[in-house]
Symmetry: none
DNA sequence: CATGAATGAGGCTTCATTCAT
DNA sequence: TATGAATGAAGCCTCATTCAT
């Protein structure tokens, strides 16, 4: 929310965007598809424009630079993930159950938004300057949240205490972040819910107190 | 081993092969460092040359194209990982223990070769044509190997049978591949062995038969 | 007066011409400020629009092209300078005194309209085609006028005869055109009148007959 | 000398440039011609490349950016002008005669290097950042030098004391800087020396003590 | 009149790659 | 082998201008 997201096209008075939003979303959608597939650096604005059905230069009505476009995608994704965090927190579960529920819901989100998730986890470091700083902060906050839940769950006696919480955190996060790769192999034979459930079950077994 | 790897070391006269290899390794080492950090697409040959202390054009004595350079890096990594696979297979353990030992050793390798591992897992898809095909085959073989071990271990009754082997495979692979990110967070406070051991322990708990 | 100046103010209905003129002047004023600072080529229509508080596209109600906008600015300036020429001619002074009075009054105008003067003297050559031709004609007429006064003054014995009139002309014109740079250095400490008076005095000394 | 001039093409070891310098000069010469004619902003790298007989991209072996190219031109010109300053200072003349000799020699330089002089006086402000700062400093040093000579000459009683030194400075500088426009009008009929001599004579008359 | 999205051309710059020396 | 100038293609971005609303 800090870095340069706002003010793409100069609108002196407060005119109504009407149709605008649609194109905006179309642009972002196109960018997500291409960038997820080829990676940010290998994606050309041209390809995005082609997909939107607009000339290259016209895209600059929707963002100020390729990097801003990436940032916007990341930012949106981040917001949605944070939203999940809040929803789960509102459920008033034990730390352990909250953690697992969080794993389940975000897994589902990643699986339903694989392209977004790919970009979210792979292209953050292509940002520079303030935008990079901000995006890195997301990651840290994210990790801290998981760490806190794990610590609480350890205190509650729900999570094994024979292992440093930091190692647990990394394991849980790693397994979670990787779920986006599950479907890409061997003919999509599991539903998102099945996969999410499997991840939760495996995570539970992995870290539960004996 | 299929795609264009050959044709680098023509040695018409009896020049010192050691010198050659050294430069060659230096080039690869430089490329690994840069590409791990910025990604293949965002890495310029110039940066690699700078790091080697050679002019851009000179690099083309060591590889035919940027893509071949990437391929060589991936290939080397792949070979080393396969080597681990063979070593572990030679230990004659039960499927379950072989799997876990494999996890331990490859974790250690990833942690000791983080830059290589980064490229190995992130840049494969930047290849094209035959090289892409070959690299993708590695991944599939890799997965198949884990799958086989898991199936055997399930048959042995060592691994939980309440979950499809394919889900188990993805989980194990995902957690394993992700260990390369463990050190990057919060002040490197664990040794590679500690991290590998933790991963093994967690993986065991996750998938062991009850 | 030849080139494409016309065709701006079609007023089909009996709309208020005042409003119109105002906007028109506002646009020109904005353009003058920006172009004086950054130069014609480096000035974007966007910047002018921003300064007027209007969207880029809207500016095209006030001129047909960026070049026409520049031309109009130059033309207006030219007209004002010519006006000064006529005023001074009407004073019925000796050639020498007319020249000096002309120097004084145009100096003052340049100093009071520095941005206009900057554009007038620096951006003429950015025009093309007929507009360029016309603007260049202004310069020549201008010079011819000074030349005529100097020749007369030489005949009158008021101006030194030991130097070709063409050299005198260039000197006088050069010194005059440059007065617009006087204020920009070292904290504006002189009034426009003081500077104009100084220029007149120095010019007089420079060219007066001994 | 401060701003980024050095290090255009990366040369790890100290190889001999040999042919290099030639091209370098050719590039600068081409740029000077085009920029003098059309102005920096309106000059495209393409035009310079065409004139050198090289592809657009190839030019970037000789400079890092269009702005650096401009800076280099300005810097070279500045150095030559400063050189003149030093030469004249070494002549050990009275302040008044030194000033006039300086006017004569720099006039001659401007007339012999009209394109350089045009750029020198017109395009400085197209620079940005540190380069702009440095170039502006040149101007100030330049002016200070003239001012010092004038003050001394006033003290010596050689220059009129009825006028503030700052006004004299501006007048002298203005007339001098403008000499580059003298030849552009009406069929080049005077030699550079004639024009320089005329300027000196007129300047002397203008500012000499009565 | 104003809007603002779209155009289409062009500008600066980077870069993988080649090649004569 | 190494050099470094040159290529040619492409990439990002800007901008004057148009036009339907």
């Amino acid at each position: 929310m800090t870095a340069t997201t706002a003010g793409r096209s100069r609108r002196p008075n407060g005119a109504a965007p009407t149709e605008r939003r649609n194109r905006d979303s179309a642009v972002i959608a196109a960018a997500i598809t291409v960038m997820s597939q080829k990676g940010y650096a290998a994606t050309s604005i041209q390809e995005v424009a082609d997909r939107v059905g607009v000339l290259k230069g016209s895209l600059y009505h929707y963002f100020r630079s390729k990097e801003e476009l990436l940032f916007r995608i990341l930012e949106e994704s981040h917001e949605q993930v944070v939203e999940i965090e809040h929803e789960v927190a509102a459920l008033d579960l034990s730390a352990f159950e909250e953690l697992l529920e969080y794993v389940r819901r975000s897994s589902t989100w990643y699986l339903s938004n694989i392209d977004r998730a790919n970009i979210f986890f792979s292209e953050r470091n292509q940002l520079t300057g303030d935008r990079l700083t901000e995006a890195q902060a997301w990651g840290r906050a994210f990790e801290k949240h998981i760490a806190k839940l794990l610590t609480s769950a350890q205190t509650d006696g729900d999570v094994r205490s024979d292992m440093d919480q930091r190692l647990l955190t990394r394991f849980v996060l790693g397994a979670l972040n990787n779920i986006r790769f599950w479907p890409s192999r061997s003919g999509k034979s599991f539903s998102n819910d099945e996969m999410a459930a499997a991840l939760v079950s495996l995570t539970r077994s992995a870290i539960a107190a004996p």
